[in-house]
């Protein structure tokens, strides 16, 4: 059996970054840029007014003051944003102008409307502005050939605004991986079907789908798949054509009906490993088939979620060429002793809470891998290493946080353990 660290290393070494695609800017938020993007234009494309007011030649208002205003002659209609003024401004002439409107030729400053008074075909101006005030110069934001987005950067809303203003509707990014979810097992029924004896509901489909969504990939939900080699083969073949990564749940233990492991391996997949020295999730398998990763998770709801968190989440980051965002790690004190089975890394679902100005950790109760409640109640995962068989009360431990720390102290009750 390999260790969790070794397993993750094998997985990340086998996984390829997805091929870049040209994607519309409405769909690239949070994705990673695959190629440097250069501007083909100036922004703004023309000198335009930063204020509502009057475009003038600065010289003509040199003497203007509240007590001794200057009167200029108004020409043409008010220039609005979107207009193309054809008049060239001569001496002693002013033109009314709106924010964003092109500054007419000849004008070199804009006097804000609050310092002016319009009177018929004249305007009285009560202040002076030097040249080049209140004007946004062509190219002052972005110049032609400026690099506006750098390869390997994550796209934020302002970047999308910049691309739109440059007329770029598509850029090359590393796309969101499509992820197939195949839940196997004759015991599974869909959530709205009646629960006959011996059956359980297929919760893995929904929790995995949410985990895939949370990390920014696109889940493709396959229904329930029977413990039948033919059906497994057919669905895997179908998924290989449609997606970038396949997750199965169930069918990887040592039981007689565990067909997933056998079937996928017989399809020619390269089994990179089977079994990790961990709890939960020991019988996890991992293959590469047609260059695509296949994660064979055990069927237990908690194993599925913990294996996703530890192995598939970093894999999806890599496929998107995204720097892996590790969860926040906090240091806190163990609120009670805890035992571990030597030789296995134990991922314990815990609650981290604040009490008497200190951070404490307690488990969420029974850690059976079927007990999904232990995962739903947890805000963090405590990793007990391999060689450690006991953690004492009061000992400091490190916890990987999945949710915020509980602010209100929660009384520790003995029945929680």
């Amino acid at each position: 059996m390999i260790t969790p660290e070794k397993a993750l290393q094998i997985i990340l070494d086998s996984i390829l970054v997805l091929k870049p695609e040209d994607v519309h800017i409405s769909e690239i938020l949070g994705l990673v840029v695959a190629k440097d993007v250069f501007s083909e234009e100036n922004i703004p494309p023309f000198d335009n007014s930063a204020m509502d007011g009057f475009a003038v030649r600065s010289k003509d208002t040199k003497e203007a003051s509240p007590k001794d205003p200057v009167t200029l002659i108004l020409r043409g209609e008010a220039v609005a944003a979107g207009d193309t003024p054809e008049i060239k401004l001569k001496k002693q002439i002013a033109m009314e102008i709106m924010t964003g409107a092109p500054v007419p030729q000849g004008a070199d400053t804009v006097i804000p409307v609050e310092f002016c008074k319009k009177l018929g075909d004249r305007v009285i101006i009560y202040t002076h502005y030097p040249a080049n005030m209140n004007i946004r110069k062509a190219g002052e934001d972005i110049r032609r050939d400026d690099k506006v987005l750098e390869k390997n950067k994550i796209v934020y809303p302002a970047d999308i605004g910049v691309l739109a203003s440059l007329g770029m509707d598509k850029i090359s990014v590393f796309p969101k991986p499509n992820v197939a979810i195949l839940c196997t097992g004759d015991e599974l029924v869909d959530i709205k079907e009646p629960l006959t004896p011996g059956k359980i509901r297929n919760s893995n489909l929904y929790s995995l789908s949410a985990q895939v969504e949370e990390v920014g990939a696109l889940p493709l939900e396959y229904g329930i798949i029977k413990d039948d080699p033919e059906e497994i083969k057919e669905k895997i073949t179908d998924a290989l054509e449609k997606v970038d990564l396949i997750i199965t749940s169930g069918g990887v233990s040592m039981g007689e009906y565990d067909y997933v492991k056998k079937t996928i391996t017989e399809m020619g997949a390269d089994l990179k490993f089977w079994k990790i020295a961990q709890r939960p999730g020991l019988p996890m398998a991992f293959w590469i088939l047609d260059d695509k990763p296949i994660f064979g998770l055990p069927g237990n709801p908690v194993s599925v979620m913990v294996c996703f968190e530890n192995y598939i989440r970093p894999s999806i980051f890599k496929m998107m060429n995204k720097k892996f965002q590790p969860r926040q790690i906090i240091k806190a004190k163990m609120a009670h002793p805890i035992k571990n089975k030597r030789g296995r890394v134990h991922f314990v679902r815990v609650i981290v809470y604040r009490e008497r100005d200190e951070l404490w950790v307690k488990t969420t109760g029974d850690q059976g891998s079927g007990i999904l409640k232990s995962m739903a109640k947890a805000n963090g995962i405590l990793t007990i290493p391999y060689e450690k068989s006991f953690i004492e009360r009061g000992e400091y431990v490190e916890v990987k946080m999945l949710k915020p720390i509980l602010k209100t102290p929660i009384p520790i009750r003995i029945e929680d353990f």
Copy 2:
């Protein structure tokens, strides 16, 4: 003019939490639960095996050891997950059982397969387990009437798994707000249209849409709206029927063609305020019409994004009944002096970076509200208060982070200021 704090207070006081809706569990990740959810069933619904192995009566294996194994008689087919074993286990009888399969009546423990050897219709057992080992008891995860999800909690993937396992396909949550985006201005053309003189591209639609998406709401993109009261009225009327919140850009200054402010007010909307003592975004307006908030943002790309961040982001959190997640605030040293116009709160786009083991802040260059690059380059926003006209080099300031801190030191170049 009101202050930014007062403006936010007026907005949040006027905005209502959305009405809860029953939403399918595939669509509730990250939303807030509107009603306590109680289990109607036991999970697991029946005692089932936690291992692949042999179901036995614990007593019958009491003496078993590697040196002195016990042989039991095998009955029936191996019980797989999903089966319903009809045999009741008698003395000295064992049944092969798979993980997840119902434990047959009479059996009280499961011996893992690695301690057993199957020989025809017998099984040799090399160890003893006390009663109730390797069995997941009915209801041990969740009991009928347990509260499984609490009102006002955010939904995480494990919660979705729990709901699925309980057969609940819909629960009551505060839904994602639908947000209409109306960009007004005769100067606007869509991003793929040719840029004729005097025109600029409608970048606000795309940056706003990305901001709406980032905060978890659903953007509804209206095209470009002309500076025409009739068209503005028609689109606002349409949006009021379809969405929960309306954002307009442009048309709220004092210019002659600024029809948005006039038109919406004339439609009977309750104008809560117009103008905030801030830079950028001074002429922002805010109305309530038919109980729905309308944000009238200025047309400048940076004003739009900063106003969204400061006023609309917290509003959307409130509508979703989500505890507001403020951005991370960090303390850093000003890398250069900076001036402010008194009487306005100035939201300066800055870069926070690490150098010589300290955090430093510099502006992203020209802070004109048309310069979207200043926003795209920024990783934080520095708020210079009202009364402050100058920040010295080396002075400590607080910055609201929009993106991670730059790790690699960036040389400070004089042309950046």
